[in-house]
Symmetry: D3
């Protein structure tokens, strides 16, 4: 291949803002426990939480040329999502590319590979979730693709899907499902608020969620000591 | 199986407080260099140091039902220790369960699996040592065990054993050995204080520990350059 | 073997200071993208950046005896570089050895193994880059070597080579190449400053680096949607 | 969700047979170097080579219930492709399920998890490519999905896609692209046969592929020794 | 510590022979899905299946001295189980130690570390399950323990426990539970034989195990295509 | 850089043949337990044992161009040693390159990356030790180096060094040390033959190596049971 798809449909900014307010764990639950990237995708600094529309970028191992191509396709509110065609931890991305993305209003980077200049990126407040921190440089020789469907860190991502990222990792929501997911997330959050109060007051989940009968039916036994087994 | 052992013997709070004051590395040394969990068990935020009595909990992979059961068995000063029956990084534990444990006076969680809501847990000051940070949700379908002897991250833990956890990792001390371990830790610490002063003053460990003779006996040679070998 | 080489040639302090000012990523690029340690070598706390002359130390697995020997060979401005002869994550190094190194003016430790007492090391401001944080203690039974050429975390290091370490990892520069590398790093940095300004102003790397023609020659196609492929 | 899609479109048996004859490496190249599962997917015994139409199955961690559901959807010539919703190495599959699949004419199993009874599976000649060999048993409590698009070991798989598996690993070909891929594979194979003869006769790839000019243009230098650098 | 416990109680040879006949997966199931070592414990050659009484041996990292001590404690029918006190892949064991164990009637070795001389061990027919194959030599400097309770590859093992090992991995059965486990294994095997015939005849597990009603109750839906969702 | 060093000094063929006869573990011991590659370097089929003179080749990640360049520098009896400049598992090497190397009398390949066509390579009897088996293809865009000193899988290798590889892994012997290493290996082997006979006859290593006194001095205690501790 080697194509750049220039017209992609982005999600509603209002819905994206809602998704951002909920964070990864809630969004993941709200969409039926799917769409998570692998647990090795970690933020370079704690405390960031972003959501945005995915611009996807597939690169060759050790070659960051297509990231430069992808920058041009980014718009304010986007999140750039990069994956190599085979596993690679090289430092594809540093402070100059971050300056460029920031100038375009991009909210952050998700990269299934390595990143460098992390001290500067932290100072800039440009959040990155990556597989590794690694200073290893890359070349600019081999083409790849921008804005095609990719698999990044175990999750399928299409351009225009919604990325939500925080200290818990990275979640992907299909654009068409976003409205429904946000709605469910609102319900879930509302429900959690009331639960949290009761739990903080010392009530037990066993009682709040009414678990005791079902546990007994399954055969759970309470004994004084293992000798009673 | 599928049992909850309700009567366990806890260690002396005074001894636990002593163990907490020493931290993981000293306690580990004081008990003869045993009882450490694997190095992949990392705190979700730096700076916490806790010690407490273990409540153990064995869960099925991807299923956190038994953690709800275990909460009820916890008392003030306890530390909950959770391990799945086969390797799993799912996010078994989040802010609601933390609220519940905190309400009961539990000091922290040790989990050989994943945890989520880590930003909130950090805000709450509820420390967790885990194998992974991962938003992946779990189900409530399969029974497990509470307060039976388990192996967690390579270390054997019995209910009522003492857990010590800090930035260096997680150590386990058998309840019956705690008094002796605390005594040895006190000796070690006293010894280290005096050593530290001499080292800071520039004295060498080679001399303080009287190593030079034994090194020579073993055959260590000092040469000007490799050509002299 | 089992030798301690006592006379090593150190690099120019001025050049080392220059290398420190550039950091790992720039130095690595300036020397032709070589000399990096593996990405698993991580700092125990963020924000440190050091450069110094390597004192090398080869230890047996689970045995830190030779680190005590190596301390004596260290001078102000040095960085101690330790690797076991086979993979090991044990906690070879803690606050007492750090006190000793600090007393001698050593700038930090690079260890392809584990470290402990990291809370104290952080308080002391003694930076360490390591493979693991692990409280596991070590013995003092087996000889090793000090100041021989070693391979540490995938990188060849000779005594007197320059180590540069920061949040991006650890780089090694051969002593003889340092002057040239610093010169190239200066050029690179100057070049980046001007680029950074243009990128921040919204200019694209595609244009600044004149990439469009070569991308087209290689066959990159811009299409509206994948249906046009 | 929790659905079983019962009507899927399968690829042409003739094209599948062609793909099988070429093997993984050739098919992967013929489709533009995409569609490979991760390198950790290994056969339980050497020498098997299969191709077939994918029946996909998404399971909960530690729960093989849906494999029983998936069996019914399998037809002769199919290959069952199973992935858990989060990483798991449990032994989801053994000799009884293999007997059932074999009775239905299924050619093999691809599972991004563990398998057991591998000695019996080897005796039966039922090939499996898996992430692990692990006797750990699973439960039957949680629903999943059959014949929906999945990501398995880093590769996107839709039901009816073609799986090719041999000692080199596992490749996925989209059903719609199969004819074109087979055509390209034929060309590639024909080309390789002629190349192979010349290489066996001692001709160099440098000459056959005409690489010398381009290498020189890029700046490759032949020198007698590193001193000449 | 540093002790050798010389009197251990071994299990009944008849029961051990039964356990051997069933293999790892069946024994693991028969004892309630517990007692498995980690999936990284692999045989050095395929096809071996052994069961025997455990002699346990705890060694220092990179130090095989205590294996020589453990040999003397071994009797015909035993299996030697070795674990280092911290993770290590060194080659603790080779053909000479195997010759010694073989002369004493020991059936095989389980080692949570490395082994070497595997070609010779294969020729000798001396089976080993290990974490790694690695030629790295070890020293003889540090004491350890023989016949104390250990944790090996995630499983607790006491001297005199029964080890079962085959191509599926390694299982541990507590000596006191062996009779009951063998009994359950017999039931399970009998049950499987009848199931296997029906499955080979094309009957579905869905029907044999009567799963359809419960699947429907849980909400599983059969649909023609995803559009019907 | 990007150089091909055309004149390298090779070791004596007689000494290489001796090294081959001893195998990896003995050679490694004979040279003082150094020079081993990492344990992840595994043969693609069991039973091969080779030794030869190293031709080194440094490649970019995902780019096998320089292997074609290296082939021309190979002579009968050589072993090609390839490492990428950053970690990569791509399939750099397949049956065509093997045909080319075989035509030149090369004995095998050591590659710190992936290999493919392993079924064909096995049929050809061309042995490869690699980090991975992976069908992923590579490009030909970026220069590297041939016959410069490299670090491969943790071991330093200079062109003309001796590679020994068998089922235990891969060892490197510096050319200048080969004669001495072979001599020591002969002594070691002679010594082992006599030991082996005594061990097979049931004599204990404890007695043959005279270990009992030193064990007692170190404090090893023999006790009937742990209660006597």
């Amino acid at each position: 291949m080697a194509v750049v798809v220039t017209k992609i449909t982005r999600p509603s900014p209002e819905l994206v803002a809602s998704a951002e307010s909920f964070g990864v764990a809630t969004v993941h639950e709200a969409q039926g426990r799917k769409g998570l990237m692998a647990s090795y995708m970690r933020p370079i600094y704690p405390g960031a939480r972003i959501a945005g529309s995915a611009v996807t970028c597939e690169v060759a191992p050790g070659d960051n040329w297509m990231i430069h191509v992808a920058v041009e396709q980014c718009q304010p509110g986007d999140i750039l999502v990069v994956t190599p065609t085979s596993p690679c931890e090289d430092g594809y991305f540093g402070d100059l590319l971050a300056a460029s993305l920031k100038a375009r209003g991009v909210k952050g980077l998700i990269i299934n590979a390595g990143v460098r200049d992390v001290a500067t990126l932290t100072d800039m407040g440009f959040p990155v979730w990556s597989k590794a921190i690694y200073a290893q440089g890359t070349v600019k020789e081999t083409l790849g693709n921008v804005n095609i469907p990719i698999v990044c860190a175990g999750a399928a991502v299409s351009p225009g899907d919604v990325i939500v990222a925080d200290d818990d990792g990275v979640a992907v929501v299909a654009r068409e499902e976003l409205a429904k997911v946000v709605e469910k997330a609102e319900e879930r959050e509302a429900n959690e608020v009331s639960k949290r109060g009761r739990l903080e007051a010392g009530e037990l989940g066993l009682d709040i969620y009414n678990m005791r009968v079902r546990l007994a039916e399954k055969g759970l036994r309470y004994i004084d000591s293992l000798e009673d087994k």
